[in-house]
C-alpha cells in the first residue's frame, strides 16, 4: 500500500491503493483474470457483439415480384401507380398526387400485427411526400394500408393469412411524376419495452428496397 499522499491523489495511484487492499486475499493476476472474465461475460450477456454484427448488415435490393422476409412479415411488392385521385380512397386535392403500391403480405409471427406496425414496415424513398397536407420526410410519412379485397382500411394482419394490400402515399404535385419509385421494406424486432414493460414490434430496420416503374393508374 502506498503511504505517499501525493501519489494517492493521482487516478492511477488510487487504483493501486484500492487493489492493494486485496493483495493478501487474492493476487493481482487472478484479479485481472476474473475482471477479464466478468467483462467478456457481461458483453456476451447483453448481446453487445450481436448488435455490432447486426448494424453491419446491408439491405438487399430486390426486383418487383420477389418475396422479401422482413420480420414479422413476408412481402412481395408488385406494382406502383400514380393518380391525381383514386375512387373511394383518395379524392382529388389541389397540389397533390397519390402514389399507390400493390403488394402481397403474410404475417409469419405467432400473433396479430396491428395496422400501425404494418404501415411502419414500408417507406417510400421519394421526395415531396405529404402528411395531412404538410411536407414531411420519407421516414415521417407512413402509408395508408388498404385491403384490396374490399377497399377498407387494414385492421390487423393475422398469422398465416395472406393479404393483398395497397399502400397509399400523397405527394406534392410540384412537377412531373417520377418515372420510378423505390419502396423500402422494414423489419422489426419483438421485444419488451424498457419504458412500460409491454411487448411490441420495435426497432425498424430496412431489410430490402424495391424500385418500381411508376405507371398511371388505370381508369377502372
Amino acid at each position: 500500500m502506498s503511504a505517499d499522499p501525493a501519489r494517492r491523489r493521482e487516478p492511477g495511484g488510487r487504483v493501486t491503493t484500492f487493489l492493494g487492499l486485496f493483495t493478501e486475499v487474492i493476487d493481482r493476476r487472478t484479479l485481472a483474470v476474473l475482471a477479464a472474465a466478468a467483462l467478456f461475460a457481461g458483453v456476451g450477456a447483453t448481446g453487445g457483439w450481436e448488435g455490432a454484427q447486426a448494424r453491419g448488415v446491408v439491405h438487399d435490393s430486390v426486383t418487383a415480384g420477389e418475396r422479401v422476409t422482413a420480420d414479422p412479415l413476408t412481402v412481395t411488392v408488385k406494382k406502383a401507380f400514380a393518380a391525381d385521385a383514386i375512387p373511394t380512397l383518395a379524392p382529388a386535392r389541389a397540389g397533390s398526387r397519390f402514389i399507390l403500391v400493390t403488394l402481397t403480405v403474410q404475417n409469419t409471427s405467432p400473433r396479430p400485427v396491428d395496422a400501425l406496425t404494418a404501415a411502419a414496415s414500408f417507406r417510400l424513398e421519394t421526395p415531396g411526400l405529404l402528411r395531412a397536407g404538410h411536407p414531411v420526410s420519407s421516414e415521417a410519412a407512413p402509408p395508408q394500408v388498404i385491403r384490396t379485397l374490399d377497399a377498407t382500411a387494414l385492421g390487423a394482419l393475422q398469422p398465416g393469412v395472406e393479404q393483398n394490400l395497397a399502400l397509399l402515399w400523397e405527394q406534392a404535385d410540384s412537377g412531373a411524376a417520377p418515372a420510378e419509385v423505390t419502396v423500402a421494406v422494414l423489419g422489426h424486432t419483438w421485444r419488451t419495452s424498457s419504458l412500460d414493460g409491454s411487448s411490441r414490434w420495435f426497432d425498424p430496420v430496412t431489410t430490402a428496397t424495391v424500385t418500381l416503374p411508376l405507371a398511371p393508374l388505370p381508369a377502372s
Binding site: P112, D150, P159, V161
Partner: protein, 196 residues
C-alpha cells in the same frame, strides 16, 4: 497460507456463484408468478364464471364472407364466427381483448372491419355476441377461445376463460368449405336473468 489456497478459494466461490445464477435463471421471478392469469377451462356449451360475469359459448360457424350490420367483409382465409352469451354480475362489464388460440399456439384477434369487443353488459342482463375471427384453414381445428375478464393487462394476473370450441379435423373441413355469406348480429340483448 500456501500460494494455491487463494486460487482454489476463488475458483470455488466463482463456481458457486455461477451455479446459483444458473439455478435462479430457471426459477420464475415473483413478478412473473404474480402476473400469471387464473385460468378457467371450459368447452362449447358449458357455462363458465369469470369474476365479472357468466359466459357460455353457444355455437361456432364459418364462412369466407360475413355480413354484420351494414358491413360485408370477404377474406382470403376464413371467418370463424363464435357466438356466446354473457351476463355481467354486479356491475357493468365489457368483454374485450378476446382471442382465438390455434393448436400450434398462434393467436388471432378481433379486428376491423368488425367490432373488436362485445360491448358493455349490464348486471343481470344477458347479451349475445357474434365474434368473427379471421383464420387460415390450418388454424381452425383445435381452436380455443381465450376470454380475459378485463382488457387491461391482457389477462395478466386476472381471470381468463379458455374455451375449447370442439373443432376436430372433420368439422374443420366442413367449416372451411362454407363460402355462402354468413349474416350475424354483433350484439343482441337476450333478457334479464333472475338471481336466486
Amino acid at each position: 497460507m500456501s500460494n494455491r489456497e487463494p486460487r482454489l478459494t476463488t475458483a470455488i466461490v466463482v463456481g458457486l456463484l455461477a451455479i446459483g445464477s444458473a439455478v435462479l435463471s430457471h426459477i420464475p421471478a415473483p413478478d412473473d408468478l404474480a402476473r400469471r392469469p387464473f385460468v378457467t377451462v371450459g368447452t362449447l356449451g358449458s357455462s363458465l364464471r369469470l369474476r365479472t360475469g357468466q359466459l357460455q359459448v353457444e355455437r361456432v360457424q364459418a364462412s369466407t364472407t360475413v355480413r354484420q350490420g351494414g358491413i360485408t367483409a370477404p377474406t382470403s382465409a376464413h371467418w370463424l364466427v363464435v357466438t356466446l352469451t354473457f351476463t355481467a354480475d354486479r356491475e357493468p362489464a365489457a368483454l374485450a381483448g378476446m382471442t382465438i388460440r390455434a393448436a400450434d399456439g398462434r393467436a388471432y384477434s378481433l379486428t376491423r372491419p368488425f367490432r373488436s369487443s362485445c360491448g358493455v353488459g349490464q348486471p343481470g342482463i344477458t347479451i349475445r355476441c357474434a365474434l368473427p375471427f379471421e383464420l387460415p384453414s390450418d388454424a381452425v381445428a383445435g381452436a380455443i377461445l381465450v376470454v380475459p375478464a378485463e382488457l387491461l393487462g391482457g389477462g395478466e394476473g386476472d381471470d381468463v376463460a379458455e374455451i375449447d370450441l370442439g373443432i376436430t379435423a372433420v368439422t374443420a373441413a366442413d367449416l372451411t368449405a362454407v363460402t355462402d355469406v354468413l349474416t350475424v348480429e354483433a350484439v343482441t340483448v337476450v333478457g334479464a336473468q333472475v338471481r336466486s
